[in-house]
Symmetry: C2
Subunit: 692 residues, 2 copies
């Protein structure tokens, strides 16, 4: 990628008060934008945004609708999708990777503006179809096509009321009846009701459901996937034996109809078992199927990781939106100043404000690049697995490693976005508390991503477990994220002074070496703690649990940061850009990495890497200096991170910079702004006795 990418398809921004800062930036924001996101992906997004903006069904909602109205609108929007021609026919000829990337870009664009819509499609088409590919066989492809064409409204029913993270304890049963060649589905009690299932509450006609497969002899063959019809697609009435309901209002994402369902002696055909890895013969014998293990592995990765990759892409956009809102507001809002009667200063000029919001700007830039790199690696592996010419063992290793990266990165990115939204809300003061600022909706809609597709705290442990396995055995890191562990003996001897002698603090190497030391130190510490517990007879389960705080948990987050920073460096090295762009990219790297290191500071001291004040002082002073350096470029970086105004949809952060004019129009035109309340008579207290 070079600095001369054609960016003419990116609309220019309107002139206005933000230009005071835009003029100070030395780089072309559009060129930066095509570094954060590839040109072809951006073209897709702009196309989607333009289509949405021109369709009244997607017009901005001035006030919060009732949950039911939101569900109605969202379901209508889903149905509108095929008519918008977002997906060109040629896509079918493209490679798996290219096709997936295309769909991902569409999803990102939809998610920025309508998170409920994006999630509803992801659940109803993406995840369902991935599950069919992973667990189904030829006979299930008709469902795949039907879901794609929206003839079926689908959902994925795994979670039960009392079991989310621990899927092994799922209790729904599917008992085979050889007489009728059917499975009989039962929910033993309400605690085993399928619950939280998106699309199930009001709309789904079929559910891909996890249940324990029992053969007639009473043997439990473990969890399997079943396709269970829920409602008649012609009437949307539930079938007898299916008690299905809507869970009611949530904190956000109310366009999704999350539901619960209980089955009572509900019969489905034998063929509805997703039988890729195991099947039941018509006569009722259970048979394991082992074939094409590489493909099965790849499909499993696709099935369970696609959602998490999607969440990361969406969350990094959410992070960017929050940062953009905070930066634009800070550049426009003035408050206080050096002279009592003199002009006031834009709040972006205050060091405290810079320190509060710029790390999120930097995080958005670095993590956007990291997620793009991760997506490429991920899609590459799946393509590889489809070819199935690789060694099974190597593929297993690759899949494990990529799972570790995803399991640590999803928590890192979703938490960073969460914190960015909150900091932006506070940094925009009262005006940030307006619904029209968008920050409340961002927060409420982003919130579940910390929990779904793997609770962040539980998911993160899968990454640390992988790392600990590398530490305690032979390092098997075909993707390369943990190769540095081979030098563990040397790395553990590192100190600030020594690293400094090898790599100046200004270098990206310096940062990565600090991380390599930290990762080795945390691995060593965590591993020793577990070993000591085991020696004294502690159960492995407890030993692992007691190694999380100040150990495995920090490890997992640090690993995700290391992955992001090292892949940002790789991308940076591959780029051919002018020195101005190069400079701003380095600034973002530095601000994000110094901020991260600062948050791990105790580890560096406790572990003996740093011994005097000089390390912390160097990191912190660098962070503050670089924030000050970014100040004049921050508005343009925000422009490069921002979706168009329509999609950003924040009255306090429009690209025209007309902060107060936009607020005025918002206030003046909000529904009934100047009307006397219709209920005015109810609240008058007669003034008869008044002394006034």
């Amino acid at each position: 990628m070079s600095q001369n990418t054609d960016t003419s398809f990116i609309p220019d921004l309107p002139k206005g008060p933000l230009c005071a800062y835009r003029r100070r930036a030395k780089f072309d924001w559009k060129q930066l934008k095509v570094i954060f996101e590839r040109e072809q992906d951006l073209r897709i997004k702009y196309k989607v945004w333009k289509i949405l903006e021109n369709d009244p069904l997607f017009s901005k909602q001035e006030t919060t609708m009732s949950s039911d109205e939101q569900k109605h609108l969202c379901a209508m929007q889903v149905n509108r999708m095929p008519h918008l021609d977002l997906i060109p026919k040629e896509i079918e000829q493209k490679s798996f990777g290219e096709k997936t990337k295309y769909l991902m870009s569409i999803n990102e664009a939809l998610h920025t503006y309508c998170p409920s819509l994006s999630v509803k499609i992801a659940l109803g088409v993406g995840l369902f179809n991935n599950a069919i590919r992973a667990m189904g066989t030829e006979r299930h492809m008709k469902y795949y096509d039907a879901a794609w064409n929206r003839e079926l409204i689908t959902c994925l029913a795994i979670t039960e009321l009392s079991h989310g993270s621990n899927t092994k304890s799922i209790r729904t049963t599917a008992t085979y009846d050889p007489k009728t060649q059917e499975f009989i589905i039962n929910t033993p009690d309400f605690e085993a009701a399928k619950c939280w299932i998106g699309n199930l509450g009001k709309t789904a006609t079929i559910a891909m459901t996890f249940a324990n497969l029992y053969t007639a002899d009473g043997e439990n063959h473990g969890l399997h996937g079943f396709l269970i019809p829920i409602r008649d697609p012609k009437t949307l009435q539930a079938y007898p034996g299916v008690l299905v309901g809507d869970m009611g209002e949530k904190i956000g994402l109310n366009g999704i109809d999350n539901g619960f369902v209980m089955f009572s002696n509900y019969r489905i055909p034998r063929e509805n078992l997703l039988n890729r890895t195991g099947d039941v013969t018509p006569e009722g014998a259970y048979e394991s199927v082992f074939s094409e293990p590489g493909k099965v592995l790849g499909a499993a990765l696709e099935s369970f990781s696609a959602g998490r990759i999607g969440i990361m892409q969406e969350s990094v956009n959410t992070l960017a939106s929050a940062a953009v809102i905070a930066v634009r507001y800070a550049a426009l809002r003035t408050q206080f100043g050096p002279e009592k009667k003199g002009p006031e200063v834009p709040i972006i000029e205050y060091q405290l404000q810079q320190w509060r919001i710029f790390p999120y700007v930097a995080a958005a830039g670095v993590l956007k690049v990291a997620v793009a790199e991760l997506t490429d690696i991920y899609l590459g592996i799946i393509e590889k697995s489809q070819k199935d010419s690789n060694g099974f063992e190597l593929l297993t290793q690759i899949v494990s490693e990529i799972h570790a990266v995803i399991s640590s990165s999803k928590p890192l990115i979703t938490w960073t976005a969460r914190d960015a939204i909150q900091e932006a809300r506070e940094a925009c003061g009262g005006h940030g508390y307006l619904k029209a600022s968008k920050l409340g909706d961002l927060r409420n809609d982003h919130d579940p991503s910390l929990t779904y597709e793997g609770d962040n705290n539980v998911l993160g442990q899968q990454a640390s477990n992988w790392l600990l396995r590398q530490w305690n055995g032979t390092v098997e890191s075909p993707v390369g994220t943990a190769n540095f562990l081979k030098n563990r003996a040397d790395i553990l001897q590192h100190t600030y002074e020594r690293v400094l002698r090898e790599s100046p603090i200004e270098s990206m190497d310096f940062v990565l070496k600090c991380y390599e030391w930290m990762l080795c130190y945390l691995l060593n510490k965590t591993s020793n703690r577990v070993a000591e517990d085991r020696k004294t007879g502690v159960h492995p389960f407890d030993a692992r649990n007691n190694s999380q705080v100040y150990g495995a948990r920090d490890l997992s987050l640090a690993y995700a940061e290391y992955f992001a920073l090292s892949h940002f460096r790789e991308r940076f090295r591959r780029l051919t850009v002018n020195s101005e762009l190069s400079q701003v990219l380095e600034l973002l790297f530095t601000i994000y990495s110094m901020w991260c290191i600062d948050r791990h500071m105790t580890t560096f001291y406790v572990g003996g890497f740093a011994k005097s004040a000089s390390f912390a002082e160097a990191i912190r002073s660098r962070l503050l200096t670089k924030c000050a350096e970014l100040k004049d470029s921050a508005v343009s970086v925000a422009d490069a991170l921002a979706p168009p105004d329509f999609a950003l949809n924040s009255v306090i952060a429009k690209s025209d910079g007309l902060l107060y004019e936009n607020l005025q129009r918002e206030f003046m035109t909000n529904k009934g702004a100047f009307e006397r309340a219709s209920w005015w008579k109810d609240i008058i207290i007669p003034q008869a006795k008044s002394k006034l």
Copy 2:
């Protein structure tokens, strides 16, 4: 206070699954409750909760109503207040302190259940009347009475669209016209429109407004308060010359009608100037009034601090509610276990979960006591000022000091509550994302308290400024919060090892000595940084701004923590309780203080207080050990912190512990749960072409 307080007025809790943990606690939760809150205050609260529970106007809202409906309901609830007989007639005979405490308890009880209602009353009666007392004279007492009797609907109009924190830049004008003996009120442009004013959007009939007072000769005499009629109390129609509107939807607190107003040559009588400190003669001459400076000071403190004290009381209850929800859920929810086929473990047993939520339990206990202590000090000072027999200088010092405590404590407490809500939301997983969990409403309604009555980041600077003045001059700390600064020379020499020799790590003294070192270190560092900047010619405004990050900001928070911990210790020393209660109180102190110190860990290392890993390891291991110790008591501590189920209003944290039964009822009875969506026909795609 002794352990034998009569607690029979506190309703017993229902038996149920939570008793498994309740039985393990060695203390009486009701006795703990009357340590967290005084018996007489609790009696008031239970009375209020009972009255609300029995009145259908306050019944639980199943779904979010529209903003307009919320405003309607809230205004109706305000009007219902006088009919509920919450305030006994005898209250008028009580002292100012007792009366205020009574009203504060009512407010706390209202706020726990209906935050909008509490804020609406606080704005419309409390703050308005405090302002009248502080700035008005005899001629304004009729407004005071009318507001109290709700014949007027009032509001406080200070903030303008482009000026919140910096009130000195307010631009609304009030120009005296001697011909008619009126003030002419004008809003120069929309940026100077009064904005965010609670009660103004739809209901207020009169606004206490800050404007620049101009005499006819064109001289600006600065900001003064004016009583400005907005709407006709008989019709709620706005008066000509007043353009008043509602700002529209916010992230939360939508029961409040926040509004904006512009005045255009709008005339009000001369007498509507609040003339306590300055007046205009009928002929138009401006006259300063200096009288009873002690009372003026006390009234000013009352006026500007009452709201912040109220926010702290409310926020500490919010913090407690979040902690209670997280603890009860964690004690009931099981997930995973040591044996694959064995029973699962309640998530409260996991160290990581304990570490995530117990510090907030401890914070709720410690900060509840600290706020009660602060309230007593505050009310005592106001009573003192009313007697006016004290030296003016001493009173000035007291008011400054208490202002510093409030300015640092409001950020600390509101931020802690913010974080507790988020951690609880995540710790309760998906079920925490239900609206019925209450965590979303808690978050959205609590959020503005980080901004209003002094933006946390701006307000905190007032505390650090006071501390820096003590550091750089003579220590004047009549309340005693900064007396330790007199030993600064010695304290700065402290190290972990030395403190440990004097006070064992188990002692409360150890903690407070760590804090005293940290405060001195941060003061020294911050003060030196400012001095160095000044030496190199940096403007004092910039020098101060550049001393916030890693300096004044940490200082302010640490000071608030120190105040809370030292006053908790004082209260603890005054108590006569049995060893079981004493033990749990010490546990809470230890968990909260170790957790706070851990968050300041870098300071202890950078400042040279700690040199080896041992300090951090001791603090962290103590935190984890004490969390483990609290585990068996946590449910009972939560009971002691919890409001009754009606007020807590969380389906996942009822005191009967019937988690899944309560969820089942919630799901089964939510509006239209099992109904086919009324819009079902809109989303059916005809199946004609289907292959299924």
